[in-house]
């Protein structure tokens, strides 16, 4: 058994974390365990697994070896104690908030969030679960401090905002969260752990839509909740009963007392996946593991291409403005240098002088860029958010989330940069 004397580097972890050779056969690539259930050794073994007294596999809604491998690799890459994979990024949000909130509790969230997240937080969560979200302009972290009440159970931000590409001051917000005794949850989908590791800046929990850059191949929806293991769930009175009080579904088991820094991850599998049923599929986990092997290589090229496209657009006569934090003129350029020194991702927006019609015309004229409702594919993607992803929002909310009428969102891919720029130029003329 190998013991690590020093922590392995990022590229090594992308290839190896969570995936030793398969014990039975020595298979070097992680097998796809396409099975729903696992034969118990005997009744005593079965009873211990159900009581969480043994670690092992029962049923693939809870755990599956291919999915566990992905979870461990993602936990390692983010520097967390553990991870729980889910069917999608939205499922990850449902799962993390259901562990933290009771009815009549509140989330404080950034106004600059993905439109689908805003919908989930502002419509379905309050209607079904009684969880209210207070949206604030997080560009001034004091707005978050001012919104905290005794009902606040979570603070939720994106490391890089989708679609606007703005970089968030994670450390400043983490300090506010720590003072209030509330966990900070960071959606790190746009940055990936290669560009930014929020736990190092004080985040308690990191979530992802692994559908995007993590997988990179545009094949599989998936999500993940990664817990830092640093939040003291029992230290905040009765605020977090799911994690710190006896669980009726497990004969009075107290997760925090029993599992310490691993409480959130145990709870995510034993209660979250068990009761919400939002598990990922083994084949998706396999494809996502394949994508992760090259995460660092891909992200280097993504940010290099994104920077070149942003600089080109900034000089283009049809373009009014480019909102990319990698440009020295961007208001959050200094935040980008602090939080994403290798480059602030590859998704950003630009605004056309021709307004709504020019945005619609652009997406109808591109030939190489794919017009899709997705980001983080290896291919370059484009969308006009106001007429699609953000169309359910009121105009003023669209504006606040960076998806105004004249805004086009790009997710810059890995094609030759000359081809990407040539396609953009022909679509803008």
């Amino acid at each position: 058994m190998t013991k690590n004397t020093s922590s392995p580097g990022f590229a090594t972890q992308c290839l190896h974390a969570g995936t030793p050779p398969e014990a039975q056969t020595g298979a070097r690539q992680t097998p796809i365990f396409q099975t729903t259930s696992y034969v118990f050794k005997n009744q005593e073994h079965a009873a211990k697994l159900f009581g969480l007294k043994e670690l092992g596999f029962i049923y693939s809604r809870l755990t599956n070896p291919t999915i566990s491998a992905l979870e461990e690799r993602l936990a390692a890459l983010e520097g967390g104690a553990g991870a729980t994979a889910t069917a999608s990024g939205h499922a990850a949000q449902l799962m993390v908030f259901s562990a933290l909130l009771q009815p009549d509790c509140e989330i404080i969230a950034a106004k600059r969030l993905y439109g689908g997240t805003i919908n989930q937080l502002s419509t379905t969560f309050p209607r079904c679960y009684g969880w209210r979200t207070i949206f604030v302009d997080d560009r001034d972290p004091a707005n978050i401090a001012a919104a905290i009440t005794d009902k606040t159970r979570a603070i939720f931000i994106e490391s890089i905002a989708n679609p606007g590409g703005g970089v968030t001051d994670i450390a400043a917000i983490a300090a506010i969260a720590k003072k209030a005794g509330v966990p900070l949850i960071v959606d790190n989908t746009m940055a990936t752990p290669y560009l930014c590791r929020p736990i190092e800046f004080g985040a308690d929990i990191v979530i992802h839509s692994t559908t995007k850059f993590i997988s990179g191949n545009g094949t599989s929806t998936g999500g993940v909740v990664i817990d830092s293991g640093k939040f003291d769930w029992a230290g905040e009175g009765d605020r977090y009963p799911a994690l710190a009080k006896p669980d009726a579904g497990y004969h009075g088991l107290e997760f925090h007392q029993t599992f310490g820094e691993m409480a959130m991850t145990f709870h995510g599998h034993a209660v979250g996946l068990r009761d919400l049923g939002v598990n990922q599929q083994p084949f998706n986990a396999f494809l996502t593991l394949l994508g992760l092997e090259t995460l660092g290589l891909r992200m280097d090229r993504h940010v290099q291409n994104a920077q070149a496209v942003a600089e080109h657009l900034a000089k283009h006569p049809a373009v009014r403005a480019v909102d990319y934090a990698g440009l020295p003129t961007a208001p959050d350029h200094d935040l980008a240098k602090k939080y994403t020194p290798k480059g602030p991702g590859a998704v950003f927006t630009f605004r056309l002088k021709g307004g709504y019609d020019a945005g619609v015309s652009f997406v109808d004229r591109v030939q190489l860029l794919s017009h899709v409702a997705n980001i983080g594919d290896s291919r370059s993607l484009v969308i006009h958010p106001a007429s699609t992803t953000h169309s359910q929002l009121a105009p003023e909310d669209r504006e606040a989330s960076g998806a105004g009428a004249e805004v086009v969102r790009l997710s810059v891919g890995l094609e030759d940069i000359a081809d990407i720029i040539a396609d953009i130029d022909q679509a803008l003329t």
């Binding site: 058994m1 190998t2 013991k3 690590n4 922590s7 392995p8 090594t12 972890q13 190896h16 974390a17 969570g18 030793p20 050779p21 014990a23 020595g26 211990k48 009581g51 969480l52 007294k53 043994e54 670690l55 092992g56 596999f57 755990t63 070896p65 999915i67 566990s68 491998a69 979870e71 461990e72 936990a75 390692a76 967390g80 104690a81 553990g82 991870a83 729980t84 994979a85 006896p246 497990y250 004969h251 009075g252 088991l253 107290e254 007392q257 029993t258 599992f259 310490g260 820094e261 691993m262 991850t265 145990f266 995510g268 599998h269």
Partner: protein
């Protein structure tokens, strides 16, 4: 520095102070796990009786064998007394292991001064499961990178 896993020797005699008869307590989980892996563990609890088929001893001094490690499942402020009892054994144990949430810096300093190794606020079961790869079954980060097949 010795790594935690090198301290965990299944074949050596251990005592678990604060072993509980209640099946939902962390100590019960850990004892059940260790016994299933052929660890030799004496449960200690003044209530006596049996836990998981093991005779429960009322105190460390009542255990009829020299001990290697003392696992402490007590509140932090009670851990000092357990360490005193351990140091009074003849011979004293080699290792004091305080479980999750258990910390007593003064007692730890005393034990170290007497030549013992002290671990605080760590779970013995989870460190062993990290070593075996079982932690990864539920998505936990073992911190291990391995490209060799298990022997």
């Amino acid at each position: 520095m010795t790594s935690l896993i090198d301290l965990i020797v299944p074949t050596q005699p251990w005592a678990m102070v604060g072993a509980s008869h209640k099946t939902t307590k962390a100590s019960y989980f850990v004892l059940s796990y260790l016994l299933a892996r052929d660890f030799q563990v004496y449960p200690v609890n003044p209530k006596g009786g049996e836990i998981l088929g093991q005779k429960v001893y009322p105190s460390l001094a009542a255990i009829p064998q020299a001990l290697y490690g003392i696992i402490i499942f007590r509140a932090s402020d009670a851990a000092g007394q357990v360490v005193e009892e351990a140091l009074a054994l003849s011979p004293p144990p080699k290792l004091i292991w305080m479980q999750f949430g258990v910390r007593h810096d003064r007692a730890a300093a005393r034990a170290r001064a007497a030549g013992l190794t002290v671990v605080m606020d760590r779970c013995l079961k989870q460190e062993w499961a990290r070593h075996t790869g079982e932690l990864g079954y539920v998505g936990l980060n073992s911190g291990l990178i391995r490209a060799r097949r298990p022997a």
